[in-house]
Amino acid sequence: MQHSVSIRDLSLNFGNVKVLEHLNLDIAQGEFIVLLGPSGCGKSTLLNCIAGLLDVSDGQIFISGKNVTWEEPKDRGIGMVFQSYALYPQMTVEKNLSFGLRVAGMPKAEIDQRVQRAAEILQIQPLLQRKPANLSGGQRQRVAIGRALVRDVDVFLFDEPLSNLDAKLRSDLRVEIKRLHQRLKNTMIYVTHDQIEALTLADRIAIMKNGVIQQLADPHTIYNKPTNLYVAGFIGSPSMNFITGTLDGANFTANDGTVIPVGAYQFVSSAPTGSTKAVLGVRPEHIFIGDEAQGMPYKATAEIEIVEPMGSETLAWTKVAGIPVTFRCSSDIPLAAGDTVTVGFDIARGSLFDAGTENRL
């Protein structure tokens, strides 16, 4: 199968600051890839390299099988949407959409047709004669998407397109972008530092840190089988519970002496031999209480310190044998600070990491 976008051995430095180093990434035709990572990790830089807005220091970029490393952005078959919308403020929406096409000398009829189609898809027909200053943030971002749409390209690049919007609009537009992807079926590369956006939109997520892709996988794998401690801690809110201890043979011994059998755990390759310093990670929603806890392979007693009702569910901050543990449960279960409850979990749904290399075991 032909990759839509391939990045080979890409490096980029600003002066002697190395932002990206030997980065490889293959994106399939029609795939929705999300680049997720903390601020300053090089997401925008990577996107700008793909767009051709930054000159790479080394490596190659292929789009639709063509080596575009030296091509101008306009010749790469990409459309791009920016965080600040970057609309041309003195032009009407219609002109914003059509300006690039007119400059390229496209026949008027074809331009009109494309603008109409984009306006219809994005439902901005009534706004075509307005100027950007007279649009709401959500409408502006739609126009910005429309400007990429009229280019009729294979690859869409989004650089935090929703982060200037308020929470409500953000979730609305998120759904629309997903719908757009389902309708157009073209490749999309989407930068964000909002993990909800990443988990809901992506076919695959690339988690980045310091210019290096930590893990590239579908949301389910990212969430349930994080490849290292960084990814495990970065994804999920509240964060995964981490318990440090030692792994030897079939048992994980926490630092306070609690022994947890790990027989049911699926190791990446095979269980390490001998004794290894390790970290056990358990997501708050994989810890159960009450009847459900009874059915779990491992059980313990937890003292509840703080209860946070969140509406549909409740967060509880507890101590299990002195180790802080957070869990999430249905809000129907009555909990109060000071209660002692029995909690249980299944090691098969947990994650074990080597304390030294921080990689998944």
């Binding site: 807005l53 952005p73 459309g79 970057a86």
Partner: protein
Amino acid sequence: MAETAVRMEAGERTTTRPGFLSRIFLHNLPAKIAALPMVLTVLVVFVGCTIWTIYYSFTNSKLLPTGKFVGFDQYERLFATSRWNVSVWNLVAYGSMSLVFTLVIGFILAVLIDQKIRFESAFRTIMLYPFALSFIVTGLVWQWIMNPTLGLQGTLRNLGWENFTFDWIANPRMVLFALLIAGLWHGTGFCMVLMLAGLRGVDEEVWKAARVDGIPTWRTYVSIVLPMMRGVLITAIVIIGSGIVRLYDLVVALTNGGPGISSEVPAKYVFNYMFSGGNIGQGLAGATMMLLTVLIIMIPWAYLEFGGKGRRA
């Protein structure tokens, strides 16, 4: 609590009601003392002196401003005086050329400097230093350069280019261009700095979007960036424009109005009639006309800036 906050923000609002006069003068007294120079400047100089000048421009004051009211006599005489008419024409001709060239050159230089060039700050320094010099210095240097016998013309003729002519300063038909060369030398760097600030204020993502759209650089400057710099452009026009109306020192130093009266300007006409011509009424009428010119420039600007569709974002 809320009340104290309000009082602290607004300053003038008090809950007690002291007498009218003491409320005007005593409340917030230190601030009023601090602002006294401003109040005096506004009332006495900007308002008072201006009204005084307008009023006395309708009198036949000669050596002292004591004359009696003569209606528009001074203005009729003003526009019947060839020296004034030449001055006005010169101002219009010089002013429009100067405005256009300053803006165009300033913008072009700013665009060139904006191209991620090497030695950017050296180029900027070179372009702006004339602005630090006075018009007198500017005028005198160019007077020397344009000196027909020993300046550029003489030098090039001595070097064998017999027909080279650069006698603008001594040629009534060309003297305005001499003024223009000196004026542009002095002011274009300043305009460049303004424009460059405007260019650098444009969102970088707009540039990226234009590149993705495949819009050539020059087209991006003309169709997208320039319209975005409307505010800076208007500011530049107002500043350059009001500088042109004031044009005085440069003329005094470079040509002193000559040859003949071919490079006279209104500010110089006014000055001469007030302080050496002994015809104050004429000077004041000329000054009032200058004021009128400025108002004609300023009112549309003030309307655009503060009136109309409310404040721009």
